[in-house]
């Protein structure tokens, strides 16, 4: 089993790639890997409660840990209480910790 961190910087409203990245994350999870999705920049937009769509639900349902960059949330006026269930606001230190722990990290 490997550990993967996928950093998603795009949102599913403006890029089809974001959906494909979730599919990659789910496939990695189903293959028995540990997977975390870290949403950053506009990647946090779909985790607003009420605006959260199918890709995010797919990831959460698959058991993928979904983290949202606290700085990106704050920049976009999304308070912690506005974040969809299943998504955890997190500092960018979460990325550094996983890099230092030799996770396979991709910036998408």
């Amino acid at each position: 089993m490997s550990k993967y961190l996928l950093i998603e910087s795009r949102d599913s409203f403006s890029s089809n790639a974001a959906q494909e990245h979730v599919e990659l994350a789910v496939a990695l999870k189903h293959a028995g890997n540990e997977v975390t999705l870290y949403l950053v920049q506009n990647g946090v937009l779909p985790c607003r409660s009420g605006a959260d769509g199918e890709p995010l639900h797919e990831a959460i349902a698959a058991g993928i840990e979904v983290l949202a960059d606290d700085f990106s949330l704050s920049e976009r006026g999304i308070a912690d209480r506005d974040v969809a269930r299943g998504v955890q606001p997190a500092a960018i230190d979460a990325v550094v910790e996983r890099l230092a722990a030799s996770w396979k990290v991709m910036f998408l």
């Binding site: 910087s9 950053v40 920049q41 506009n42 700085f71 500092a91 960018i92 230190d93 990325v95 550094v96 910790e97 890099l99 230092a100 030799s102 996770w103 990290v105 910036f107």
Partner: protein, 135 residues
């Protein structure tokens, strides 16, 4: 446990939020006690260009000081300063070919010129590497 981390970055300054994200990653890594290598290539060699200058904003009637336009070279200087204060290493390398293509040979102090071979060496010697490419 302190580790050595390498970041390869490609985006030119003043264009994309990825630049700020990378700066934040470098800062977080240094604060966590890690040594950091940065290999800047293509447009990213402009991040440390010494002749970046703050400017006024005539439309809003602000002079350069009031406009306080952020400059990536200043952020890099601050990251180098953070590394120095915390006793960590920040090795910032600009791809020499990319520098020459763009006429950006004047980098701030603390940034050095290198080649893709430096990226290979940094990656081999690091616990992990992250490439943040332009799209």
């Amino acid at each position: 446990m302190p580790a050595s981390l390498t970041f390869a970055i490609m985006d030119a300054p003043f264009e994309n939020a990825r630049t700020v994200t990378v700066f934040r990653l470098v800062q977080a890594a240094l604060k966590a006690g890690h040594d950091v290598n940065v290999f800047a290539y293509e447009g990213a060699v402009g991040l440390s260009f010494a002749r970046q200058a703050a400017h006024a904003n005539a439309v809003h009637g602000r002079d350069a000081a009031a406009e306080n336009h952020p400059l990536p070279r200043v952020w890099i200087e601050q990251l180098l300063g953070l590394a120095g204060k915390s006793g960590r290493k920040l090795d910032w390398v600009n791809c020499g070919l990319c520098v020459d293509e763009r006429g950006m040979g004047e980098a701030i102090e603390g940034v050095r010129r290198g080649t893709p071979a430096d990226l290979w060496k940094m990656s081999v010697e690091s616990v992990n590497s992250l490439s943040v490419g332009t799209r």
